[in-house]
Symmetry: C2
C-alpha cells in the first residue's frame, strides 16, 4: 500500500471523529502486505477518555497482533503522534510511522527517530485544514486535550 | 501522602490484577493533597486490550482532570513505566513518577528525566516478587506483552 492510500484511511477516521463532535485525528495500522490491522480515531470527547487517541484506538482495534507483524507494520496518523502514542509505537516495535502533518503541533518525532523508527511527514493539506477548522470551532476542547503537549 | 502509602495503593491494584489472572502491575494517580484521583491495573489479559496498562488505566479512572491538578500530581506504579505510559505522563504534564521497581525491566526512565519529571525508585521488594511470580507462571503472556520493550 502506498502512503497516500494509508493516510486516506486515517483521514476517513478523522472525518468520522469530526462528524461525531470529536477531535478530528485518525489513524490506521497497516501491515507490510497492505492489510489494515486496525483503524480508529480520537475519542477523548466522545468517550470522555484521555488515552483514546487515534493511534491507541487503532492499536485496540487491531487486537492481539503477533510481534513479527508489528515489526513490519506502519502506523498512519493524520497528526504527529504525541509522546504517549509515539511511546506505544516504540513499545510494540512498530516499523514506520507516517504522519499527515505536524504544522498544527509537534509530538514525539525526535523520540521515534532516536529509537530507529522510520518517520515520514506527508505535509497533507487536508489533514491540516480539518484540524484548524476544529481548533477554531472548539478552542477550549483543544486546549484541554493537550495541557502539556498535544492531542495526537 | 508519603510515597510508601501511594505505592501501597498501586500494589493493591497489582494484587487485584494477579487475582484476576492478569499481569500484576498497578498504579495510582494521587494529587498533591493526597487525593486518589484514579487507580487501576494492567488489563491487557482481562480485556484483551494492548493499551490498558496500569498507568493508562489509572488515567482513565481519573477521568477529566484539570491541567493544574495533573501538574502537581504523582503517578505511582509498581513497575517502571514503559515508553507509552511515560509518554502519557509527559502528555498530561504530571509532576512526579514513583516506581515500585525496575529490576524486572526498565522503561522510559531517561525520557521522563529528560522532560524534567521527578522520578523516584522505591526498590520495593514485594512489587518485584509479585512480578517474578507472574513471569514464572505465565512466561508466554509476559513475552507477548512486551515484544519490544515491556509491560509497564
Ligand atoms: Ca489528549
Ligand atoms: Ca503491553
Ligand atoms: Zn497521542
Ligand atoms: Zn505502560
Amino acid at each position: 500500500m502506498n502512503d497516500e492510500l494509508g493516510m486516506q484511511i486515517a483521514y476517513e477516521e478523522a472525518v468520522k471523529s469530526y462528524e461525531e463532535g470529536g477531535i478530528p485525528i485518525g489513524a490506521a495500522l497497516i501491515s507490510a502486505e497492505g492489510v489494515v490491522l486496525g483503524r480508529g480515531h480520537n475519542e477523548r470527547i466522545q468517550k470522555d477518555n484521555p488515552i483514546l487517541h487515534a493511534e491507541t484506538s487503532a492499536l485496540i482495534n487491531a487486537g492481539r497482533v503477533d510481534a513479527k507483524v508489528y515489526k513490519t507494520a506502519t502506523m498512519y496518523s493524520t497528526l504527529a503522534s504525541c509522546f504517549m502514542c509515539s511511546g506505544a509505537c516504540i513499545l510494540y516495535g512498530i516499523n514506520r510511522v507516517v504522519m499527515g502533518e505536524n504544522r498544527t503541533v509537534q509530538g514525539g518525532e525526535e523520540l521515534l527517530i532516536s529509537k530507529g523508527i522510520e518517520l515520514i511527514n506527508l505535509n497533507d493539506e487536508k489533514c491540516y485544514q480539518l484540524m484548524q477548522k476544529f481548533i477554531k470551532e472548539k478552542p477550549h476542547e483543544w486546549h484541554q486535550a493537550h495541557p502539556e503537549e498535544f492531542e495526537g
